[in-house]
Amino acid sequence: MRFAPTPDQLELAGAVRELLADACPPEVVRAAWGPEGDTGRTALWRQLADLGLLGAMVPEDVGGLGLTEVDLVPLFVEVGRAAVPLPVAETVAVLAPVLAGVGSTDLAGLVAGDLVGTAELAGSGILPWAGCSDRALVRSGAELRLVDLTGVDLAPVVTVDGSRAAARTPSVAGTSVTADPAELERAWLRGALAAAAQLVGLAHRQLDLAVAHTRERKQFGVPVGSQQAVKHLLANVLLDLRFCVPVVQRAAVSLASGAPEARAHVAAAKAMTSEMAGRTARSTIQAHGAIGYTVEYDLHLYVKRSWALAASWGDVAHHRAVVADSLGLPPAVDPSALPWEAAR
């Protein structure tokens, strides 16, 4: 038993954190909201490729780092903390490992950073990052298909997080990648895990902003953060966040070891982080007061990404239902019948 990241894992996460602090400050996220998208994204993608991150889950013999889900969690926490306006999770956790499994010609381009790949397996009809991606992994029934977005006429969708460059999922058939149900489930669970880890990082960033603000901002002659009501509001955010972290880590351990509980453990992680994200956004906006309710200030960049991710890769209701199923809970009955009527 040793339930903590290894020094190597921490070192890699530290390197990613440093790189992103420098290469993906709030101005880069903000610029990605522009109507034309932003060319700064290309440079950032290249830097991530140079670090080897894009092929993190690709086996070493085909040019990747050969890392596991467990190594990936601290990396995606950092991607979340910086709200990287690119489909890092989709490429690294979902698309690249799937393509590595079937030996696609696009794999080398993705790992090298020449191609940007997105993925959407829920079937929502909205493809995140479509506007800045070259490839998309989508699902048709129980089959994964790869769509080449080059030259495809996209119908952009205005979403709450404007940096996500979303579009209607194009009605292009693409090519079949795999119809193996185990592969499909693994891809889905990796996507959900990566979203959960990003939600942790996003919450950290929101909390850091709220703490910095409430230490500085004075009212009634004292920092607002010295008021007990504000302290307790932010203590609750930390509490919520800190107890999500080990649940996300366990999900990664189960997924990496192919444990049968992986499905329920990923569901626990995604359900808890998605709920935590909602509470964190609300509390950190409140702690900021009026400035938190603007787009002038950076907080909204992180809040809106966390709202988007909380609803992606399965929402709270779905993941809680998976956990309920794993517990063998009987279905609910409708208790609205009056005492003498039959239950529904």
């Binding site: 038993m1 040793r2 004292v222 007990q228 880590q249 309920a324």
Partner: protein, 376 residues
Amino acid sequence: MDLTWSPAEEAFRDEARTWLDANVPRGLPSGDTREGFTAHLEWERKLFADRWAVVSWPERYGGRDASIWEWLIFEEEYYRAGAPQRVTQNGIFLLAPTVFEFGTPEQQDEILPRMAAAEQLWGQGWSEPGAGSDLAAISSRADKVGGGWRINGQKTWTTRGAFCTHLFGLFRTDPEASRHAGLTYLLVPLDTPGVTVRGFGRLDGDEGFAEVFFDDVVVPDSAVLGGVGQGWSVAMATTGSERGLTLRSPGRFLAAAERLRALAVERAGSLSASARDGVVEAHLRAEAYQLFTLAQVTDLAEGRKAGAESSLNKLYWSELDIALHETALQLLGSDAEVDGPWSRGHMFSLSGPIYAGTNEIQRSIVAERLLGLPRK
């Protein structure tokens, strides 16, 4: 990241489980009544006889020198087996860590074996009528007399105080010194002349509380634990244990979440969507608490200190416990008002955010020490 137990740890688990399955008594009355307390003492002595009372202690004091991992395993098995509440807990989990850290060799040899054997039964004497969350406001005093100290004052909310034999507490020994500096940690046998103990009912009606009055009670110099005037820092060492995982190990909540799940299955015909969701929530939070402590114990095992983190534990388990019991009452419907383990557990859960430092105090600690928000 490794979430597996070693073969030696698995063997320890098997041994604990086998022993518990064969020995756990069923249907003991509440340990917070005089009759129930006596019944629980028999259980405590059985635990001691087979060296399961204090597994993490050295063998010479009745323990097994178990690692902190093995202690966690034992706790998991203990609650999974549905074993009784530990009426010795305030001694073995709160006072003992302080005796190990600050006690003289004589104090250790005198107290620890008797505590493990449930011969000395310890109550906590911290709160007073005028000092609760603001512990440093205590006014019970101990004045220097030849060879010892003379105590006058009153303690209250002493858990199972009416059934205990001894009390550990904080007393003001230097009224001139600043609030925190003038305190001394004293160990007092409750049969000392001048001590009066009066039990009274908790929310559930059991006589689980006591107030303790001191009228010219004289104790020897050897009653001082950790040095005259050092009481505050000595006491704070105990609060870490009380808030953190030693008092409320994850096994307790995992077992409760499992009982809740079983209750939901049993009540399938009337399971509402909101109660079903409550069962899921209790399960998620009990597991999160377990995983959090596994990470914390990894840190402890590798020499990193938990510090103010124990306030996070306390907030989490106390609120989890209430939510879990509220869901149980929801599942029980109109049966919830019947006196029973769930209705009693629910009442007891409401004390969680109060004892061991109220949750309001814990949130302020989290905000100031972990987030760095200004004290004033």
